[in-house]
Amino acid sequence: MNMIIKNKAIVADDWTVLRLQEQETPESVIVAAGKVIVPLKVWQAQRAALQDRKEIGVWLASDERPEELKGDIEKFSVIAVDFPKFSDGRGYSIAFNLRARLGYSGELRAIGDVLRDQLFYLQRVGFDAFAPRPDRKIEDVIKGLSDFSEVYQTSFDQKLPLFRRVQRKANEAASS
């Protein structure tokens, strides 16, 4: 069974991520039984069959729009966002929009090129689950969640900017 990071802990995971092979099409690919995270295009092509499953997940590529899931998000046990390269930052805005605009509250998982040094930012925009790249030690990767203990700005994790959360000092010399 795969290990992932979920809610800040390393846990076993029994979902499989379906990625289309070259000759497969969204319409014809066979979605195995059990807990499968399917590509958005497969969901769209096979919606009628998939939507009655008890547990189904979907994943978005970095060039796909979260708005495509509008009206459907309640149906998913997990939504994943794929990072084809860790330096492709579109997934951060996808996550933010899924959470803040579409109101998705279920598991949001980062998949693909997921590495330790991006984890802090990823959790801030709304990811609560991470499937690190398989060649990395998950015990190291999880350390990335705690790089910083304070942040300035709002994002999904922190609804108030620092200046609304704490009393910060003014310049004493000026106030006298």
Binding site: G89, Q153, K159
Partner: protein
């Protein structure tokens, strides 16, 4: 100026700890170079020709004497005794070892400094009008907003892996001194008819391969909403900016592709959800940050010092300096002093450790302990009593910081060029030197008057050549020799324009003669007191082009040999670039 509280300090300290561990993992091989690259870039660390170069942030160009002394310390301890002030109001050190960089960042953190987001595809150090807070034409003091935006953009989780780098500039005077039309986002702090503070927001400007003057996306965003408005711009860019081609990835390409109206529609649709939300700025916060920029303890002084006039009459050098390097201050009896880093032969923007310590002392004694770095690569003492100008001039002259050439042809803006930078096609610093030597005569220089000359070693335009009245660019040619394109008609400020190339490119040694010929046409064509740029705009390119190419250039006997005598000897730089 702004001082860290415990939150700022904690965030920067934790960054040093994070970076130290990243360097450890890189050195142990846990991180590949490809994975380490964006991590080190977001701490300002580049790999250049001679080794690692560290770009340290000087947030919006304001710096204390204590921080300046830390630069001197770094120059001595980790580098070769000097640093280079950049067109983004930062400083770069060129000769560092990777193993030392965590310690350097720890040293910097001890004086509230860092290299955060001075490179990489993220929101970079925000730049500001170098006379903010003291300029006579100031409408709104933009410094508190610059600090608030600095905090907002620091480690913004959603915008750390943008399609490309992202630069924001802010101006607050009637005259734009921050080149806001040449930035990804330019903010002009203004007041509306009701006297309320807000920002004219300009988007999609930029230089580089595709120079574009920015477009106004909103004429007035009230100050409360500036953070959320900027956030929406970034979000649209992050999602839709091109990532398939590095040269088409800046926001200017997206704005151009969509058109400003469609881009605005998308931004405002996003913004509708954020407006009036918790990201909205509060007057408590703006007042708190503004308290750090409150006036220092100015004395009540007469606006004209009689001793100055006497001394001026006696000393032509002083009088030249006064008229070129000293600017009017909004407080009577005070002046803004620009310390020139453009002495002939000096690499534009370079300062030695001794000079850094020296200017720190000057700041302590003459300017409330603060300095500014200008985007024209000079230093500023912003709050000098007029009655101190004579002694300040005498002291600064001994350190060669009073060349009276601010705004003149020899106040050349230049990137580091091919001796330092892996991107450059050609040398910049030696060319600046050659040109400065040619125009050293002050009578001639002053007759030419206000003019800007910018040199970039390649199209990436770190020397901002597109907005120089005269712009020089190192271009790549098949023969791998150095060639330079010359363009004219660029300008920054309220009347920004992009320069146009005059024709086929030139060799290194032809460029000073080309400049001379351009100046000849200007002096011939100008109306009384008309500036170079105004003459170019009135008569067009044709007369300049015609004269420059009319006669052949004298053959340079030893073009090749000269390449090895390029920088002042103390720098000990061999001429070397992998491109040649």
């Amino acid at each position: 100026m702004y001082r860290y509280d415990e939150y700022d300090q904690q965030i920067v300290d934790e960054r040093v700890r994070q970076y130290r561990d990243q360097v450890r993992r890189r050195l142990s091989g846990e991180l590949t170079e490809q994975e380490f690259l964006p991590l080190r870039l977001q701490n300002g660390l580049y790999m250049q020709i001679h080794g690692y170069m560290l770009r340290i942030a000087v947030p919006y160009g304001l710096i204390s004497s204590q921080q300046m002394r830390m630069f001197a310390h770094i120059a001595r301890k980790y580098d070769r005794g000097y640093g280079h002030f950049t067109t983004r109001q930062n400083i770069q050190f060129n000769w560092l070892k990777l193993q030392d960089t965590p310690d350097i960042l720890a040293d910097l953190a001890s004086v509230q400094m860092h290299g955060i987001q001075t490179s990489g595809n993220c929101v970079r150090n925000i730049t500001l009008d170098e006379f903010a807070g003291v300029a006579q034409d100031e409408v709104v003091d933009p410094r508190p907003y610059a600090e608030i935006l600095r905090q907002w953009s620091t480690f913004h989780p959603e915008f750390a892996y943008l399609p490309r780098k992202f630069k924001i500039a802010i101006s607050g005077g009637k005259e734009d001194r921050a080149a806001i039309y040449a930035h990804d986002i330019g903010l002009a702090a203004i007041k509306n008819a009701q006297g309320e503070v807000g920002f004219r927001v300009v988007v999609g400007g930029g230089l580089g391969r595709t120079p574009i003057i920015g477009s106004v996306i909103c004429e007035f965003v009230p100050w409360q909403h500036i953070l959320t408005y900027v956030e929406s711009i970034l979000r649209i860019y992050n999602q839709y900016g091109r990532r398939d081609n590095k040269y088409k990835a800046r926001i200017k390409i997206l704005v151009k592709a969509l058109g400003i109206d469609e881009f605005r529609r998308q931004v405002e649709a996003d913004w509708a959800d954020l407006k009036d939300g918790p990201g909205t700025l509060t007057s408590e916060e703006i007042n708190r940050v503004a308290s750090f920029f409150a006036d220092p303890a100015y004395e009540t002084l007469p606006d004209h010092d009689s001793k100055l006039n006497e001394f001026k009459a006696d000393s032509r050098s002083f009088s030249n300096w006064l008229s070129r390097n000293v600017k009017p201050h909004r407080i009577p009896g005070y002046a803004i002093v620009v310390l020139s880093l453009k002495k002939t032969g000096n690499a534009p923007g370079d300062a030695t450790a001794e000079q850094m310590d020296f200017v720190a002392d000057l700041a302590d004694r003459y300017s409330f302990g603060e300095l500014r770095i200008t985007h024209k690569q000079n230093l500023v003492l912003a709050d000098v009593r007029q009655k101190d100008l004579i002694s300040l001039w005498q002291e600064a002259s001994a350190q060669e910081l009073t060349t009276p050439n601010i705004g003149m042809l020899t106040d050349i803006i230049s990137c580091p060029g091919a001796e330092f930078c892996t991107l450059a096609n050609a040398r910049s610093i030696p060319l600046a030197k050659l040109i400065a030597e040619r125009f050293e005569n002050l009578d001639y220089l002053y007759d030419i008057g206000e003019i800007t000359l910018n040199i970039s070693g390649c199209v990436n335009a770190c020397g901002q050549h597109h907005i120089g009245n005269i712009g020089i660019t190192g271009v790549e040619k098949k023969d791998h020799d150095e060639w330079y394109q010359v363009s004219i008609g660029g300008a920054e400020g309220n009347d920004s324009s992009i320069s146009k190339i005059i024709g086929p490119s030139f060799t290194f040694h032809q460029v000073p003669e080309v400049i001379e010929r351009l100046i000849h046409v200007y002096l011939r064509e100008r109306f009384e007191a008309e500036s170079f740029i105004d003459t170019v705009r009135r008569v067009g390119h044709a007369p300049f082009k015609e004269h420059v190419y009319a006669t052949d250039f004298a053959a340079q006997e030893d073009e090749a040999a000269d390449k090895h005598v390029v920088l002042p000897a103390q720098y000990d730089v061999p001429y070397y670039s992998p491109r040649f």
